[in-house]
């Protein structure tokens, strides 16, 4: 069969999500953020939330998320996205509010906001990209940096006696009573992308059903910060990150009830 006969609109099985804007993303080649943006756009479109979803953009690599996904957005101060999401969701109870944050934003400067929003059980979705590094500022150590990982501020590797242990935010928020769904996913393979999409979809449905806070942690790569090729960073993530951040649902109140 000729290529021209296959490439026809009726044969299309996968295309760019409708809600993804035409802007070229500023992320480095191979960044996990792009895939997560794509699945968030797909989920919003599939659930028909285009006019009802309000995103809270963080400070960090995803600071320009509002340029890429075509829904309403508010830009928060560094780490304060869950606090702003609280306000937006309380003032607009009919909207579905989600935050999109990185580990430096959510787990370092925004720890208090995150924990208290989860404790209050706000009806929001928190999407956290955990790549264990401050990507935008040049690869400094974040709370989620693995032990022994070399970063700009830990050039000889993270030392537990000096820098402490890496923080498992998903496990921390899972013990809080306000959260209804806490999961940890990845987007490095096709199967992982499908699972992550299902998790984000469930989180959005929970927020729409007013069940409480849904927390989706996505273990991602930062090939520029880790100083590896995108392919190698995916392998490094599988070998090292997944040992400390095992994938899967951590809490799901639908199943325990």
């Amino acid at each position: 069969m000729k290529r021209e006969d296959i490439i026809k609109p009726e044969n299309k099985v996968y295309s760019r999500p409708r809600l993804l804007d035409d802007n070229i993303m500023h992320y480095c080649p191979g960044c996990s953020h792009g895939v997560v943006h794509k699945i968030v756009a797909e989920v919003i479109d599939e659930l028909g939330l285009e006019e009802h979803a309000i995103g809270i953009a963080p400070v960090g690599c995803a600071v320009f998320a509002y340029n890429y996904i075509d829904c309403d957005w508010v830009e928060a101060a560094h780490g304060r996205a869950p606090a702003l999401a609280t306000a937006v969701s309380r003032l607009n109870p009919d909207k579905v509010v989600f935050t999109y944050q990185g580990d430096g934003d959510l787990a370092a400067i925004g720890t208090a906001e995150t924990i208290h929003a989860c404790t209050r059980g706000e009806n929001i979705v928190i999407i956290m990209i955990n790549n264990g590094i401050y990507g935008m500022t040049g690869g400094q150590m974040s709370p989620c940096t693995l032990e022994g990982a070399k970063t700009a501020t830990t050039p000889y590797g993270r030392r537990v006696d000096l820098n402490g242990f890496p923080l498992r935010v998903g496990n921390v928020v899972s013990i809080l009573d306000g959260t209804c769904y806490v999961t940890r996913q990845a987007v490095h393979t096709t199967a992982a992308v499908r699972k992550a999409k299902a998790a984000i979809r469930k989180a959005f449905l929970n927020a729409r059903a007013k069940k409480g806070t849904s927390f989706v942690e996505i273990v991602g790569t930062c090939s520029s910060g880790w100083k590896m090729s995108p392919e190698k960073s995916n392998k490094w993530m599988e070998e090292n990150m997944f040992a400390h951040y095992p994938l899967g649902d951590i809490k799901d109140t639908d199943k325990t009830e």
Binding site: N11, V13, Y14, S15, C31, V193, E231, N234
Partner: protein
């Protein structure tokens, strides 16, 4: 037996040459341009062995820049 014919289109200017689609493809269809670059200087991906494509969309799903569209025809 039914045969599946697939094809991919890659937006050349949007591609950043990250190589993830090449790794994800189960049929080794895709490759990065060895010499040619796009306007931003990246060696973009292209279907090198397009007759082997089965339209599984694995490449498109892992593409961080959403520049791949997948088409599939099943001939019975």
């Amino acid at each position: 037996m039914a045969k599946i014919h697939g094809a991919v289109t890659i937006e050349r200017e949007r591609c950043k040459g990250c190589d993830l689609c090449v790794v994800a493809c189960p049929c080794d269809v895709l490759a990065l341009q060895p010499k040619e670059v796009n306007d931003r200087g990246y060696h973009f991906a292209y279907p090198a062995k397009e007759e082997a494509c089965i339209g599984c969309a694995a490449c498109a799903m892992v593409c961080p820049d959403a520049c791949i569209e997948v088409y599939k025809v099943i001939v019975k």
